[in-house]
Protein backbone atom coordinates (compact mmCIF):
# COMPACT_ATOMS: atom_id res chain seq x y z
CA UNK A 1 0.00 0.00 0.00
CA UNK A 2 2.69 2.45 1.09
CA UNK A 3 4.85 1.50 -1.84
CA UNK A 4 2.07 1.92 -4.39
CA UNK A 5 1.28 5.38 -2.99
CA UNK A 6 4.92 6.38 -3.10
CA UNK A 7 5.14 5.09 -6.65
CA UNK A 8 2.29 7.41 -7.63
CA UNK A 9 4.11 10.27 -5.95
CA UNK A 10 7.39 9.70 -7.70
CA UNK A 11 5.56 9.34 -11.01
CA UNK A 12 3.26 12.35 -10.80
CA UNK A 13 5.33 14.75 -8.69
CA UNK A 14 3.88 17.95 -7.26
CA UNK A 15 0.14 17.45 -8.00
CA UNK A 16 0.35 14.03 -6.36
CA UNK A 17 2.21 15.57 -3.42
CA UNK A 18 -0.55 18.15 -3.01
CA UNK A 19 -3.27 15.48 -3.09
CA UNK A 20 -1.42 13.20 -0.71
CA UNK A 21 -0.90 15.99 1.79
CA UNK A 22 -4.60 16.93 1.66
CA UNK A 23 -5.59 13.34 2.45
CA UNK A 24 -2.92 12.90 5.13
CA UNK A 25 -3.86 16.14 6.91
CA UNK A 26 -7.52 15.15 6.77
CA UNK A 27 -6.60 12.00 8.69
CA UNK A 28 -5.91 9.30 6.14
CA UNK A 29 -3.12 7.03 7.39
CA UNK A 30 -0.32 7.88 5.02
CA UNK A 31 3.49 7.86 5.32
CA UNK A 32 3.73 11.62 4.97
CA UNK A 33 7.14 11.99 6.61
CA UNK A 34 8.68 9.43 4.24
CA UNK A 35 6.99 11.26 1.36
CA UNK A 36 8.48 14.61 2.32
CA UNK A 37 11.95 13.19 2.87
CA UNK A 38 11.77 11.45 -0.53
CA UNK A 39 10.73 14.77 -2.10
CA UNK A 40 13.75 16.37 -0.43
CA UNK A 41 15.96 13.71 -1.92
CA UNK A 42 14.57 14.42 -5.40
CA UNK A 43 15.35 18.09 -4.80
CA UNK A 44 18.94 17.12 -3.99
CA UNK A 45 19.14 15.11 -7.22
CA UNK A 46 17.88 18.07 -9.22
CA UNK A 47 14.62 16.41 -10.28
CA UNK A 48 12.41 18.85 -8.37
CA UNK A 49 12.92 22.37 -7.02
CA UNK A 50 12.85 23.16 -3.32
CA UNK A 51 10.28 25.95 -3.06
CA UNK A 52 7.61 24.42 -5.33
CA UNK A 53 7.82 21.23 -3.24
CA UNK A 54 7.48 23.17 0.02
CA UNK A 55 4.64 25.25 -1.38
CA UNK A 56 2.68 22.35 -2.90
CA UNK A 57 3.08 20.22 0.23
CA UNK A 58 2.22 22.96 2.70
CA UNK A 59 -0.85 24.19 0.78
CA UNK A 60 -2.06 20.59 0.48
CA UNK A 61 -1.67 20.06 4.21
CA UNK A 62 -3.40 23.37 5.01
CA UNK A 63 -6.37 22.45 2.79
CA UNK A 64 -6.57 19.04 4.47
CA UNK A 65 -6.53 20.65 7.91
CA UNK A 66 -9.54 22.80 6.99
CA UNK A 67 -11.47 19.62 6.18
CA UNK A 68 -10.90 18.34 9.72
CA UNK A 69 -11.75 21.72 11.22
CA UNK A 70 -14.96 22.02 9.18
CA UNK A 71 -15.90 18.46 10.07
CA UNK A 72 -15.59 19.28 13.76
CA UNK A 73 -17.37 22.59 13.50
CA UNK A 74 -20.26 21.79 11.19
CA UNK A 75 -20.60 18.07 11.72
CA UNK A 76 -19.33 17.41 15.23
CA UNK A 77 -20.78 20.42 17.01
CA UNK A 78 -24.46 19.86 16.22
CA UNK A 79 -23.97 16.19 17.03
CA UNK A 80 -22.39 17.05 20.38
CA UNK A 81 -25.20 19.49 21.13
CA UNK A 82 -27.77 16.79 20.36
CA UNK A 83 -25.97 14.34 22.62
CA UNK A 84 -25.71 16.76 25.56
CA UNK A 85 -29.39 17.65 25.18
CA UNK A 86 -30.26 13.96 25.47
CA UNK A 87 -27.94 12.78 28.20
CA UNK A 88 -26.70 16.00 29.75
CA UNK A 89 -23.11 16.86 30.51
CA UNK A 90 -23.19 20.27 28.90
CA UNK A 91 -21.11 21.73 31.72
CA UNK A 92 -18.43 19.08 31.16
CA UNK A 93 -18.33 20.01 27.50
CA UNK A 94 -18.01 23.66 28.46
CA UNK A 95 -15.12 22.79 30.75
CA UNK A 96 -13.42 20.92 27.96
CA UNK A 97 -13.98 23.86 25.63
CA UNK A 98 -12.46 26.31 28.10
CA UNK A 99 -9.50 23.99 28.53
CA UNK A 100 -9.14 23.65 24.79
CA UNK A 101 -9.29 27.42 24.18
CA UNK A 102 -6.49 27.83 26.66
CA UNK A 103 -4.18 25.21 25.15
CA UNK A 104 -5.37 24.75 21.57
CA UNK A 105 -3.05 27.38 20.13
CA UNK A 106 0.04 25.48 21.21
CA UNK A 107 -1.57 22.23 20.20
CA UNK A 108 -2.38 23.47 16.72
CA UNK A 109 1.10 24.86 16.13
CA UNK A 110 3.12 21.93 17.47
CA UNK A 111 0.91 19.22 16.01
CA UNK A 112 1.76 20.57 12.54
CA UNK A 113 5.43 19.66 12.70
CA UNK A 114 6.66 18.30 16.03
CA UNK A 115 3.88 15.92 17.05
CA UNK A 116 2.35 15.32 13.65
CA UNK A 117 0.29 12.22 14.47
CA UNK A 118 -1.97 14.36 16.70
CA UNK A 119 -2.66 16.83 13.87
CA UNK A 120 -5.91 15.41 12.44
CA UNK A 121 -7.38 15.02 15.93
CA UNK A 122 -6.52 18.56 16.90
CA UNK A 123 -8.12 19.85 13.68
CA UNK A 124 -11.40 18.18 14.54
CA UNK A 125 -11.28 19.24 18.18
CA UNK A 126 -10.48 22.83 17.19
CA UNK A 127 -13.59 22.90 15.01
CA UNK A 128 -15.61 21.17 17.67
CA UNK A 129 -14.73 23.77 20.30
CA UNK A 130 -15.12 26.65 17.83
CA UNK A 131 -11.53 27.79 18.05
CA UNK A 132 -11.45 31.12 16.11
CA UNK A 133 -10.88 30.16 12.50
CA UNK A 134 -8.58 33.08 11.64
CA UNK A 135 -6.26 32.19 14.50
CA UNK A 136 -6.48 28.52 13.55
CA UNK A 137 -5.44 29.19 9.98
CA UNK A 138 -2.61 31.55 11.01
CA UNK A 139 -1.10 28.91 13.31
CA UNK A 140 -1.81 26.25 10.71
CA UNK A 141 0.03 28.07 7.92
CA UNK A 142 3.03 28.79 10.17
CA UNK A 143 3.22 25.21 11.45
CA UNK A 144 2.74 23.46 8.10
CA UNK A 145 5.35 25.59 6.34
CA UNK A 146 7.76 24.89 9.19
CA UNK A 147 7.06 21.15 8.85
CA UNK A 148 7.66 21.18 5.11
CA UNK A 149 10.83 23.24 5.47
CA UNK A 150 12.29 20.91 8.11
CA UNK A 151 11.41 17.59 6.48
CA UNK A 152 12.23 18.53 2.89
CA UNK A 153 15.53 20.05 4.05
CA UNK A 154 16.42 16.89 5.95
CA UNK A 155 15.59 14.83 2.89
CA UNK A 156 17.73 17.09 0.80
CA UNK A 157 20.66 16.97 3.23
CA UNK A 158 20.59 13.20 3.71
CA UNK A 159 19.25 12.38 0.29
CA UNK A 160 20.89 8.96 -0.04
CA UNK A 161 19.28 7.43 3.05
CA UNK A 162 15.68 8.58 2.95
CA UNK A 163 14.15 5.45 4.43
CA UNK A 164 16.40 5.52 7.47
CA UNK A 165 15.84 9.25 8.00
CA UNK A 166 12.08 8.90 7.65
CA UNK A 167 12.01 5.98 10.06
CA UNK A 168 14.14 7.91 12.54
CA UNK A 169 11.89 10.97 12.31
CA UNK A 170 8.80 8.81 12.69
CA UNK A 171 10.09 7.05 15.79
CA UNK A 172 11.40 10.27 17.29
CA UNK A 173 7.99 11.88 16.79
CA UNK A 174 6.31 9.00 18.62
CA UNK A 175 8.83 9.33 21.47
CA UNK A 176 7.92 13.02 21.82
CA UNK A 177 4.19 12.24 21.68
CA UNK A 178 4.72 9.43 24.23
CA UNK A 179 6.70 11.60 26.64
CA UNK A 180 4.04 14.31 26.41
CA UNK A 181 1.15 11.91 27.03
CA UNK A 182 3.05 10.07 29.79
CA UNK A 183 3.87 13.40 31.42
CA UNK A 184 0.25 14.48 31.25
CA UNK A 185 -1.00 11.17 32.64
CA UNK A 186 1.69 11.14 35.32
CA UNK A 187 0.77 14.66 36.33
CA UNK A 188 -2.90 13.71 36.54
CA UNK A 189 -2.04 10.58 38.53
CA UNK A 190 0.58 11.73 40.97
CA UNK A 191 0.41 15.49 41.21
CA UNK A 192 -3.19 16.47 40.82
CA UNK A 193 -4.74 13.77 42.96
CA UNK A 194 -2.53 14.38 45.99
CA UNK A 195 -2.39 18.16 45.75
CA UNK A 196 1.12 18.48 44.50
CA UNK A 197 2.77 16.44 47.23
CA UNK A 198 4.22 13.88 44.87
CA UNK A 199 4.60 16.15 41.92
CA UNK A 200 8.37 15.70 41.49
CA UNK A 201 7.95 11.94 41.46
CA UNK A 202 5.84 11.99 38.32
CA UNK A 203 8.43 14.08 36.55
CA UNK A 204 11.16 11.71 37.59
CA UNK A 205 9.24 8.72 36.41
CA UNK A 206 8.63 10.01 32.94
CA UNK A 207 12.16 11.27 32.70
CA UNK A 208 13.84 8.03 33.74
CA UNK A 209 11.59 5.77 31.70
CA UNK A 210 12.52 7.71 28.67
Amino acid sequence: MTEQLLELLTTYGLPALFGAMVLAAAGMPFPSSLTLVVMGSFVAQGELSFWPVVFAGATGAIVGDQIGYAFGRYGGRPLLAAVTRRIGGAEKVEQAEAYSRKWAGWGIFFSRWLIGPLGPWINVSSGLTEYPWLRFIALDVAGEFLWLLIYVSLGRAFSDQVQTIASLLGNLTWVIVGVLVAGLLGWKLFAKSSNGETAPESDERTATKR
Binding site: E3, Q4, L6, E7, L9, T10, T11, V38, S41, F42, A44, Q45, E47, F158, S159, D160, Q161, V162, Q163, T164, I165, S167, L168, N171, L172, W174, V175, G178, V179, V181, A182, L185, G186, K188, L189, S193, S194, R205, T206, K209, R210
Partner: protein
Protein backbone atom coordinates in the same frame (compact mmCIF):
# COMPACT_ATOMS: atom_id res chain seq x y z
CA UNK B 1 -8.12 9.94 45.67
CA UNK B 2 -10.32 7.39 47.39
CA UNK B 3 -13.30 8.45 45.30
CA UNK B 4 -11.65 7.59 42.03
CA UNK B 5 -9.99 4.23 42.76
CA UNK B 6 -11.11 2.28 39.66
CA UNK B 7 -10.55 5.32 37.47
CA UNK B 8 -7.06 5.63 38.89
CA UNK B 9 -6.29 2.02 38.04
CA UNK B 10 -7.24 2.64 34.44
CA UNK B 11 -5.01 5.71 34.39
CA UNK B 12 -2.08 3.76 35.84
CA UNK B 13 -2.52 1.03 33.23
CA UNK B 14 -2.64 3.67 30.52
CA UNK B 15 0.43 5.37 31.93
CA UNK B 16 2.40 2.10 31.91
CA UNK B 17 1.26 1.38 28.36
CA UNK B 18 2.32 4.83 27.17
CA UNK B 19 5.71 4.52 28.88
CA UNK B 20 6.25 1.10 27.25
CA UNK B 21 5.21 2.50 23.86
CA UNK B 22 7.57 5.43 24.31
CA UNK B 23 10.43 3.14 25.34
CA UNK B 24 9.87 0.95 22.27
CA UNK B 25 10.08 3.94 19.95
CA UNK B 26 13.08 5.34 21.83
CA UNK B 27 14.94 2.07 21.21
CA UNK B 28 13.96 2.16 17.55
CA UNK B 29 15.09 5.77 17.26
CA UNK B 30 18.50 4.80 18.61
CA UNK B 31 18.75 1.82 16.27
CA UNK B 32 17.78 4.05 13.33
CA UNK B 33 20.48 6.50 14.34
CA UNK B 34 23.07 3.69 14.45
CA UNK B 35 21.88 2.39 11.09
CA UNK B 36 22.09 5.88 9.66
CA UNK B 37 25.54 6.43 11.08
CA UNK B 38 26.78 3.13 9.69
CA UNK B 39 25.34 4.18 6.33
CA UNK B 40 24.19 0.78 5.22
CA UNK B 41 22.48 0.24 1.90
CA UNK B 42 18.77 0.71 1.89
CA UNK B 43 16.62 -2.01 0.41
CA UNK B 44 15.57 -1.30 -3.17
CA UNK B 45 11.86 -0.50 -3.33
CA UNK B 46 9.46 -0.19 -6.24
CA UNK B 47 8.85 3.55 -5.73
CA UNK B 48 12.51 4.33 -6.31
CA UNK B 49 13.80 5.60 -9.63
CA UNK B 50 17.06 4.47 -11.21
CA UNK B 51 18.45 7.89 -10.36
CA UNK B 52 17.63 7.44 -6.70
CA UNK B 53 19.17 3.95 -6.49
CA UNK B 54 22.35 5.22 -8.14
CA UNK B 55 22.40 8.19 -5.76
CA UNK B 56 21.78 6.09 -2.67
CA UNK B 57 24.26 3.34 -3.57
CA UNK B 58 26.86 5.77 -4.88
CA UNK B 59 27.23 4.11 -8.27
CA UNK B 60 27.08 5.80 -11.70
CA UNK B 61 23.55 5.57 -13.13
CA UNK B 62 24.63 4.23 -16.51
CA UNK B 63 25.60 0.85 -15.04
CA UNK B 64 22.03 0.48 -13.77
CA UNK B 65 20.61 1.45 -17.16
CA UNK B 66 22.86 -1.18 -18.72
CA UNK B 67 21.81 -3.78 -16.18
CA UNK B 68 18.17 -3.32 -17.20
CA UNK B 69 18.97 -3.00 -20.93
CA UNK B 70 17.65 0.55 -21.01
CA UNK B 71 18.77 3.52 -23.09
CA UNK B 72 21.49 5.46 -21.29
CA UNK B 73 19.24 8.56 -21.34
CA UNK B 74 17.77 9.75 -18.01
CA UNK B 75 14.74 7.70 -17.07
CA UNK B 76 12.31 9.12 -14.51
CA UNK B 77 10.10 6.06 -14.25
CA UNK B 78 9.83 4.22 -10.97
CA UNK B 79 11.30 0.73 -10.75
CA UNK B 80 7.80 -0.68 -10.32
CA UNK B 81 6.76 0.86 -13.61
CA UNK B 82 9.96 -0.24 -15.35
CA UNK B 83 9.30 -3.78 -14.14
CA UNK B 84 5.70 -3.74 -15.39
CA UNK B 85 6.56 -2.22 -18.74
CA UNK B 86 9.41 -4.62 -19.40
CA UNK B 87 7.45 -7.67 -18.30
CA UNK B 88 9.76 -8.50 -15.40
CA UNK B 89 8.90 -9.00 -11.78
CA UNK B 90 10.12 -6.50 -9.20
CA UNK B 91 12.34 -9.23 -7.73
CA UNK B 92 14.07 -9.71 -11.10
CA UNK B 93 14.67 -5.98 -11.45
CA UNK B 94 16.04 -5.86 -7.92
CA UNK B 95 18.35 -8.82 -8.59
CA UNK B 96 19.72 -7.26 -11.78
CA UNK B 97 20.35 -3.94 -10.04
CA UNK B 98 21.97 -5.57 -7.03
CA UNK B 99 24.22 -7.64 -9.30
CA UNK B 100 25.30 -4.52 -11.20
CA UNK B 101 25.89 -2.58 -7.98
CA UNK B 102 28.00 -5.33 -6.43
CA UNK B 103 30.12 -5.54 -9.57
CA UNK B 104 30.70 -1.80 -9.61
CA UNK B 105 32.15 -1.74 -6.11
CA UNK B 106 35.65 -2.19 -4.65
CA UNK B 107 36.63 -5.83 -5.04
CA UNK B 108 35.77 -5.27 -8.71
CA UNK B 109 37.40 -2.63 -10.91
CA UNK B 110 35.48 0.65 -11.06
CA UNK B 111 33.01 0.89 -13.95
CA UNK B 112 34.04 2.74 -17.09
CA UNK B 113 32.57 6.03 -18.31
CA UNK B 114 29.02 6.12 -19.65
CA UNK B 115 28.61 5.22 -23.33
CA UNK B 116 29.05 8.40 -25.40
CA UNK B 117 26.05 8.68 -27.74
CA UNK B 118 23.46 9.61 -25.11
CA UNK B 119 20.88 10.84 -27.62
CA UNK B 120 19.71 9.24 -30.86
CA UNK B 121 21.31 12.20 -32.67
CA UNK B 122 24.77 11.05 -33.80
CA UNK B 123 27.58 12.88 -32.12
CA UNK B 124 30.87 12.22 -33.87
CA UNK B 125 33.65 11.37 -31.50
CA UNK B 126 37.26 11.31 -32.54
Amino acid sequence: MTRTRPWRKVLIALFVAVVAFTGYHAVRTVSDAIYWNAHRDEPIERWMTIGYVAHSYHVPPHILHQALNLQPAPDHRTLGRIARQSGRTMAQVEDKLTYAIVHARPPYPPPGPPPRPLQPAPSPKP
